[in-house]
């Protein structure tokens, strides 16, 4: 059975992870490569690096970060944040990304999705949608949630899929950072409208929030950042929690054989 994916998000600035680095005794938590190594050991399914600065001067540093993370994991690696054109996407993929995520640039220039899908295949093109509840619908915001658009999230998700996007990374602006749970209504509305996978993001605070978004929210994957930074084994424990509640996830062999101990 196809597993529900658990994706760790690294918000990176100047080569360092900027969220949730206050876990005591984990000195390397700010280093994206060290954090990726730990997540890989704990059983993460995929890693997303979001460059929260993404200025021209910082792009070379970003390429070094992507390369360093790619050396640590043999898992799908997605890079997003400030990818404006094909050259930016090329640089990220050249540095070791398997997928690129586009947000503001995709709304401004939807044909970019098609161009990148032709070049790298749809599986390499993720459209990131930041949505906020407004007037009974879900309005899209761009520029890191700062600027409202006239677009509706469900309708844009369908268009993006038609134009060649292979997955949707859907963030609820209302829930982001609140730890009050994913927006399951938003996620289900988009997931039911498209045939490509939907990655839910924004609001993860407890393990049960993941159960909710995989059942009521009909998400194919869920992404979080700080919930994984805080505690060692958080990824392993989350997967065990989901497994125990009947949500299909990729487990280590220790789980299938029924042994209680964690993997070495």
């Amino acid at each position: 059975m196809l597993s529900k994916r658990i994706i760790a998000c690294l918000d990176v600035r100047d080569g360092q992870v900027v969220k949730g680095i206050n876990f005591e005794g984990l000195r390397s938590a700010g280093d994206p490569a060290a954090l990726s190594r730990r997540y890989n050991r704990e059983g993460i399914d995929e890693v997303v690096i979001l460059d929260v600065t993404a200025t021209i001067e910082k792009r070379k540093a970003m390429a070094r970060t992507i390369h360093a993370v790619a050396q640590e994991i043999f898992l799908p690696l997605c890079v997003g944040g400030g990818i404006k054109d094909e050259a930016h996407a090329d640089a990220a993929i050249e540095a070791g990304a398997d997928k690129v995520s586009l947000n503001t640039a995709a709304i401004a220039r939807p044909e970019l999705l098609t161009a990148l899908a032709r070049r790298y295949g749809s599986q390499a093109v993720i459209v990131a949608i930041d949505a906020k509840r407004e007037g009974g619908g879900f309005r899209i915001y761009v520029r890191s949630g700062q600027q409202a658009t006239e677009r509706d999230a469900v309708e844009w998700a369908q268009e993006a899929a038609d134009r060649g996007a292979g997955e949707i990374l859907l963030t609820s602006i209302d829930r982001d950072g609140t730890k009050s749970g994913f927006d399951c209504e938003l996620t289900a509305a988009v997931s039911e409208a498209v045939s490509i996978p939907v990655i839910a993001s924004g609001g993860a605070g407890t393990f049960d929030h993941f159960v909710d978004v995989f059942t009521a929210g009909k998400a194919d994957a869920a992404l979080a950042a700080s919930i994984f930074h805080y505690a060692e084994h958080a990824v392993t424990d989350l997967k065990q929690h989901l497994h125990d509640r009947g949500v299909p996830v990729r487990m280590g062999r220790w789980a299938r054989t029924g042994a209680a101990e964690s993997p070495a």
Binding site: L2, L75, A124
Partner: protein, 210 residues
């Protein structure tokens, strides 16, 4: 003598190169089929549409077939597995390598109008981690256990035939690992499938270097 990683424009080879380097394999990407007589193993990667395999023209086919005839090993990954078959309905006019019988077909949704029995809708493409079911013993699957998961991203899939050594079920059962004589195919991406993927890759590379 080395491994030839065929770069025929089918997307991004960075992660395949990274895995090969990590596993200590010596490989090169030949500019054309003329370089293949000095090669003892061939890897045909591939992402995206079956149409990209049109770049593997008669010259490439003859050279790759020559490597296999001389006792070399051929590994096809993703679209590279599909190419081992007679063709794919994704690009009906385009013949595959034709070493394995049957054609690749679009993954069918057994329940297109609603939820399946387990409550999950079968979206196409099939993206994510799914289990391998061992169909029969093979050196390719050494160290791989029933139910081990690997990373897929594809819409078309190969039929389960006599050469299928590992299958995966997503709505329908399809061939996720094939082996026939010195030809191996993997529908998933071993280079993105964690420890299980690296083990599968290593099994093939060990044979290639032997």
């Amino acid at each position: 003598m080395s491994i030839a990683l065929i770069d025929y424009g089918a997307g991004n080879l960075t992660s395949v190169r990274k895995a090969l380097t990590h596993l200590g394999a010596r490989f090169e990407t030949p500019a054309g089929p003329a370089a293949l007589p000095d090669t003892h193993a061939v890897i045909v990667p591939g992402v995206g549409n079956f149409e990209v395999t049109a770049a593997l023209d008669a010259g490439w086919r003859r050279a790759i077939a020559g490597v296999v005839e001389r006792g070399g090993l051929l590994l096809g990954i993703c679209v590279g597995l599909q190419w081992l078959f007679e063709g794919s309905e994704e690009a009906p006019g385009l013949p595959g390598f034709g070493a394995l019988p049957g054609r690749c077909r679009l993954i069918e949704n057994p329940d297109p109008d609603g939820d399946s029995a387990d409550g999950a809708l079968f979206k196409v493409p099939h993206v994510g981690w799914n289990s391998l079911h061992r169909k029969r013993d093979s050196w390719v699957l050494d160290g791989v256990e029933e139910g081990d998961q690997v990373y897929f991203t594809h819409s078309y899939a190969a039929p389960v035939g006599p050469d299928c050594i590992g299958s995966t079920t997503y709505g329908v059962e399809f061939a996720s690992v094939v082996e026939r004589e010195r030809m191996v195919g993997m529908q998933f991406h071993p280079e993105k499938s964690g420890d299980v993927g690296l083990r599968l890759f290593r099994n093939v590379l060990d044979r290639m270097s032997a």
